[in-house]
């Protein structure tokens, strides 16, 4: 990345060095000017010569300065953008498990705040390093040229400066790290609180939450104050050292001028260089500091880049087959666990769904139904040799091909705060208006949309807050249908729908599903009973399988479930209305 902009950087650095050298020349010219006035006496052309030279030098310097600013700062901003883009692209390929264990606020802060610190390191940091080096060597050599002994005395404070910079620098770094970290904590707290504000208000927990926030904020204040204390000692301390040096020069230099061992111009110039030195000397500490902060930020960014991408996104040499996916699904003895320490979520799953067939999955809460379909989609990586589509191991199917082939309605619906149209067309932007309306019709969301004033242009709000639970599900359903995929997976996609709507949708879908492999996960027997095969899952295993009638005849778990869901016509089973008390 740096290589891409190296010319920019090199040109900038050269200009910066030239700027600094030019800056060094100006006190020298001032010295000449003063000496020309006092030394020689009598109006000479040199009276105008030095002022003109000063202005000339300043103009040249301004030009150079413009140039380095454009180059060096331009360099850092370009790097920032490229790196941010790269990190984002990397994020898009990370396994889903990564996002489940990182906080959104934390990741955001890395892509914005840390990026900014990194940019400052690249910009101001490189500026300060070069500046410091050039000015220190330049000023020092000129000072020595004027008077080596005076230079020695004036730099008496130097060890103190570097000592205190080191002393404070480390602590300041520590504290600012603390502060940064705490700020991220504070943001995350606010984010979660606002995302869950309905719960907070419904349980009248506002005071509780405010107290929690207050605690965090007070801690933040305390940390900030610590940092401020360090700064408010360090800066004035630097000034003291600079002041002592200046006093020494005034004393010793003044004496030398009295003795005639030094001209007044030299004295003034010496003072000028000393003043120039103070900043870089302080800056040494600053640079170390900024370097550390930038490095810390960079390491937080690199941390993301070091997370290996999900296996599916790794480059594969296998050629992409051109024929479309038919939709044969086969699973052979699949075992899966969410990681060490987690109990197995799936155990010895085997099944075969021929293309075009419908498979219903029913089962207990937490039995692994969602896990199973997540593996089919490679949202989590299945072990090799276990999950096959069209007799190809899914771990070898190129991801774009796999994802294009599967229409998925997740149990945990996420809608974007965009229009309904954009949300439905999310997975397939090329769909025309007809396809859009057709999928909305199949998903039974069209009547609702027709009811909105802005129709398909209705903005949904964050995560779709402006829709009812069932409307959200149906929008997600339409989003999967519009893709027109050979495999359709509905993970509990009717849980928030009334029977009538569900029935309508299933009727619309019948034709659609007859040509596609469909996996229907549900808790309602009525949803899956017509499927070509039904699996009953418990604790990560398939404990019963077969078609509806078979399963009923078996009088097992499925049968008992069926009994539980029975509605009875027997009138007296319904309790009578109890009168008011």
């Amino acid at each position: 990345m740096i290589v891409r902009y190296r010319l920019l950087l090199i040109a900038g650095v050269v200009a910066l060095i030239a700027t600094d050298l030019m800056g060094m020349a100006i006190p020298w010219l001032i010295k000449g000017g003063i000496d020309a006035i006092i030394g020689k006496g009598g109006v000479s052309p040199s009276l105008i010569k030095y002022p003109l030279m000063i202005v000339g030098a300043a103009l040249l310097q301004a030009l150079l300065r413009y140039f380095w600013r454009m180059n060096i700062f331009g360099f850092s901003r370009r790097i920032e953008r490229d790196l941010r883009g790269e990190v984002f692209a990397h994020l898009l390929k990370l396994p889903l498990a990564y996002f489940q264990h990182m906080k959104t606020g934390d990741l955001m802060s890395r892509l914005t705040n840390d990026m900014q610190s990194m940019r400052e390191l690249m910009g101001f940091g490189s500026l300060a390093i070069i500046d410091t080096a050039v000015i220190i060597t330049g000023s020092l050599s000129l000072m020595i040229a004027i008077d080596p002994v005076l230079t020695f005395w004036s730099l008496l404070c130097l060890p103190f400066i570097s000592f205190s910079v080191r002393f404070f620098g480390n602590r300041i770094f520590q504290k600012s790290w603390d502060v940064q970290q705490h700020l991220s904590l504070l943001s995350t707290y606010v984010q979660e609180n606002l995302s869950g504000i309905r719960v907070v208000q419904a349980y009248a927990q506002e005071e509780n939450q405010i107290r929690g926030f207050q605690r965090l904020s007070a801690e933040y204040r305390r940390k900030n104050l610590w940092l401020a204390t360090l700064w408010s000692v360090l800066w004035p301390l630097m000034r003291i050292f600079a002041g002592i040096s200046a006093a020494i020069v005034l004393w010793l230099g003044g004496r030398k001028v009295m003795q005639g061992a030094m001209t007044l111009g030299e004295f003034a110039a010496f003072n000028g260089y000393l003043a120039m030195l103070t900043w870089p000397l302080i800056a040494v500490g600053h640079v170390v500091n900024q370097y550390q902060r930038g490095a810390a930020a960079l390491s937080r960014i690199i941390e993301i880049l070091d997370v290996p991408v999900a296996p599916g996104y790794r480059e594969s040499e296998l050629p992409t087959p051109t024929e479309p996916i038919r939709g044969d699904v086969e699973i052979r003895n699949l075992n899966f666990s969410y990681g060490d320490g987690h109990p197995p979520a799936l155990r010895g799953i085997s099944l075969k769904i021929p293309a075009g067939a419908t498979c219903g999955i029913i089962g207990e809460t937490g039995s692994g139904k969602s896990t199973l379909v997540h593996l089919l989609l490679r949202l989590f990586e299945p072990p090799p040799g276990a999950v096959f589509i069209d007799s190809t191991d899914v771990t070898t199917i190129p991801l774009p091909r796999l994802k294009a082939a599967i229409g998925f309605v997740s149990q945990d619906i996420f809608l974007f705060s965009d229009t309904i149209r954009e949300n439905i067309l999310f997975g397939y932007r090329d769909a025309d208006r007809e396809a859009l309306e057709e999928s909305a019709r199949i998903a039974e969301i069209l009547p609702s949309i027709r009811g909105f004033t802005r129709q398909f242009d209705t903005i949904l709000g964050e995560r779709g807050v402006r829709l009812s639970g069932g409307q959200k599900q149906r929008t997600a359903l339409a989003r999967a249908i519009v893709k027109n995929p050979p495999v359709l997976i509905l993970d509990d996609a009717f849980s928030s729908l009334d029977t009538e709507t569900e029935d309508d949708i299933l009727n619309h879908l019948r034709e659609f599903m007859s040509k596609r492999t469909t996996i229907l996960i549900s808790h309602r027997i009525s949803t899956v009973k017509g499927a070509d095969m039904i699996l009953y899952m418990r604790k990560g295993e398939i404990i019963e399988r077969g078609i509806h009638e078979e399963l009923l005849n078996r009088r097992g778990a499925y049968y008992r479930l069926h009994q539980r869901q029975q509605l009875t016509r027997e009138v007296d089973e319904m309790p009578r209305r109890e009168g008011p008390r």
Partner: protein, 603 residues
């Protein structure tokens, strides 16, 4: 993934706004004594700064040129004195300012947060989380910068510039006038720069806001992006904004790169002028040489603050804009406020009455139209009906999340508008249709950090919600970490947890909005059994689509298109042959006639 703009984001503030400044200062009022002290320190510190070159001048003109070593010693001592005094003044000033600033910011931040807690849902629906976060965190940070470097720094800079100008005039007014001749031009230039810088600033804020919004949604919706294979598109979108951001910033660099060198040129020009004009004066014996040395030092010290002022302009403006947005937020009235003297029913029993209730989320589009019903204390009621009919909205109105448009809702005979909101809600145990879990541990999610709920109650509630056995087999049991939104739990487990939460709060009125829609039937039945006992003399409102789950209710309300369509017991409704009986028939058929009914997916 739209990065929709909102009017408040367009606020960019002026450099200075007396009304706003007045309000900002109000937060500093408790600390005004300290502030006065810090201001005093600031003036004193500036004084020590000004004294330096003046002492140099005295040293040169009075002692060095006269060869008076003792005098020089005196001046050097005085110089050292100013240096040490300066140290204390500067330290005092910096520390006190920071201290008061931090205190005031803490107060402000807490106030904003507390204010947000009280907002009604309509407001919170409208304002994305990211934006409100920016208000509470980033805008306050910006304002903090105003305190720590802005106001005081600006005052300091202004003191310095005027002080130096004054000192120069005192030293030699003729030379000073020549030196200061370029001033008006500089002021003009800074104005020009400021305007440009402001435009860039304005744009960069807008683009950064879009960048943040996109980032947040992309990360939160990563599962959806990946399962639809939309990585490429998401990247393009992000990179577009990212590039815009870079380009705006690059433009900002250009203005800075032009302005700052030009200021330096002015500084050199002034020095040249001083040398030339001063030189002539000296040759004409109208000026002492020390004055020139002092002047040059003054000029060098003067241009730093001038440059700073231009830079601090950005801080000022950012702070003004931030504070305007903050105050706009604080000024949004609490739409749903508590009455001054809340009424408390004599006895809390749990009767609910809706009288001709109308509710609209968007004006003119009523979602509830004249809902009227009554629930006696201890009665169990089911709300059923087609999706989007308004069931959740009825609950939301009852909890006073949204203010109803017309009609009234009474709880135990008292209008909910006369209740204290929090008191009311404490009596209602609500399981929301959209489950939300906080990061933290399981126990914390059940109690929400309420210290009044004992460990015992947590366990009892979990047992009733039939999640206890799951929790207990986890390595850390009730202390097991829950991720943001509970993403590592199965959907049913999340629902059960939030069910347990409602039970732990032991409400008089239990409200279940599709509370077990993703839970398997066995568990659901077990929960119902457990609830039977618990709900004995409590009121319950249950929303469910699976009619088998409402077997135990006393009465059923059928909600359709925002109206109460039918009402009655199961038998009454069946006898009526209306909407309910149709729903019932459908479900009944679905279970009776196996794989060949109209409902069946594969014909």
């Amino acid at each position: 993934m739209s990065e929709t703009m909102h009017p408040e984001d367009e606020i960019f503030g002026k450099f200075y706004d007396a009304r706003l400044m007045g309000r900002i200062l109000r937060y500093l009022k408790p600390y005004w004594k300290l502030l006065v002290l810090s201001l005093l320190f600031l003036v004193l510190y500036t004084g020590t700064l000004l004294l330096g070159p003046y002492l140099t001048k005295i040293a040169i003109d009075q002692y060095i040129s006269a060869g008076n070593l003792d005098g020089l010693k005196l001046v050097v001592m005085a110089y050292l004195g100013t240096v040490f005094l300066g140290f204390f003044f500067l330290f005092g000033e910096t520390y006190i300012t920071e201290y008061t600033g931090q205190r005031a910011m803490h107060d402000l931040r807490t106030q904003i947060f507390a204010h947000l807690q009280k907002q009604d849902m309509a407001y919170l629906d409208r304002n994305p989380v990211g934006r409100l976060m920016t208000r509470t965190i980033n805008d306050v940070e910006t304002l903090n910068e105003l305190f720590s470097t802005g106001v005081v720094g600006l005052l300091g800079d202004a003191f310095t510039v005027f002080g130096i100008a004054g000192a120069m005039l005192l030293l030699d007014w003729k030379l000073a006038l020549v030196t200061l001749a370029g001033f008006p031009l500089i002021i003009y230039l800074s104005r020009f720069y400021r305007r440009r810088a402001r435009d860039v600033y304005r744009e960069s804020r807008l683009v950064l806001g879009r960048l943040n919004a996109n980032l947040q949604e992309s990360i939160a919706g990563m599962g959806t992006i990946q399962s639809f294979g939309q990585e490429e598109k998401a990247y393009e979108r992000f990179q577009g904004i990212n590039t815009d951001y870079r380009d705006v910033l690059l433009r900002g660099i250009r203005y800075n790169a032009l302005f700052f060198p030009v200021i330096e040129v002015f500084s050199a020009l002034t020095i040249g002028l001083t040398l030339w004009f001063g030189g002539r004066l000296i040759l004409g014996h109208a000026l002492l040489p020390g004055v020139i040395v002092a002047f040059i030092q003054y000029i060098q010290r003067m241009y730093t603050p001038i440059r700073d002022i231009a830079e601090k302009y950005n801080i000022m403006q950012a702070a003004m804009a931030s504070s305007e947005r903050i105050f706009a937020l604080l000024d949004t009235e609490e739409k749903i406020r508590n009455p001054l003297v809340p009424k408390v029913p004599r006895q809390f029993q749990g009767a609910v009455e809706f009288k001709d209730v109308w509710l609209s989320y968007n004006p003119g589009e009523p979602v509830l139209r004249g809902i009227t019903f009554r629930v006696e204390a201890g009665e169990k009621i089911a709300l059923v009906g087609a999706t989007g009919g308004g069931k959740t909205s009825i609950i939301a109105a009852l909890c006073r999340f949204y203010e109803i448009e017309r009609g009234s809702i009474l709880v135990d005979g008292v209008d909910i508008r006369e209740w204290n909101k929090q008191d009311l809600r404490r009596r209602l145990g609500l399981v929301l249709q959209d489950v939300f879990l906080f990061s933290g541990d399981i126990a914390g999610n059940i109690t929400l950090g309420d210290p009044r709920i004992s460990e015992e109650q947590i366990h009892a509630a979990s047992r009733r919600a039939h999640i206890a056995s799951y929790i207990e087999q986890l390595p850390a049991g009730y202390r097991e970490e829950v991720q943001e939104r509970g993403v590592t739990l199965s959907q049913g487990q999340r629902q059960l947890l939030s069910f347990a939460r409602a039970l732990a709060f032991d409400p008089r009125i239990l409200i279940l909005d599709e509370a077990t829609s993703s839970v398997d039937t066995r568990t659901e039945t077990l929960i119902q059994e457990a609830l039977k006992e618990l709900l004995k003399d409590r009121t319950a409102l249950i929303i469910a689509h699976r009619l088998s789950t409402i077997k135990n209710v006393n009465r059923i309300l059928v909600i359709h298109k925002g109206e109460l369509w039918e009402e009655g017991s199961h038998q009454e409704l069946l006898a009526r042959q209306g909407l309910y009986s149709r729903l019932y028939e459908l479900q009944y058929q679905a279970q009776e006639h196996g794989g060949n009914g109209a409902h069946s997916p594969v014909g």
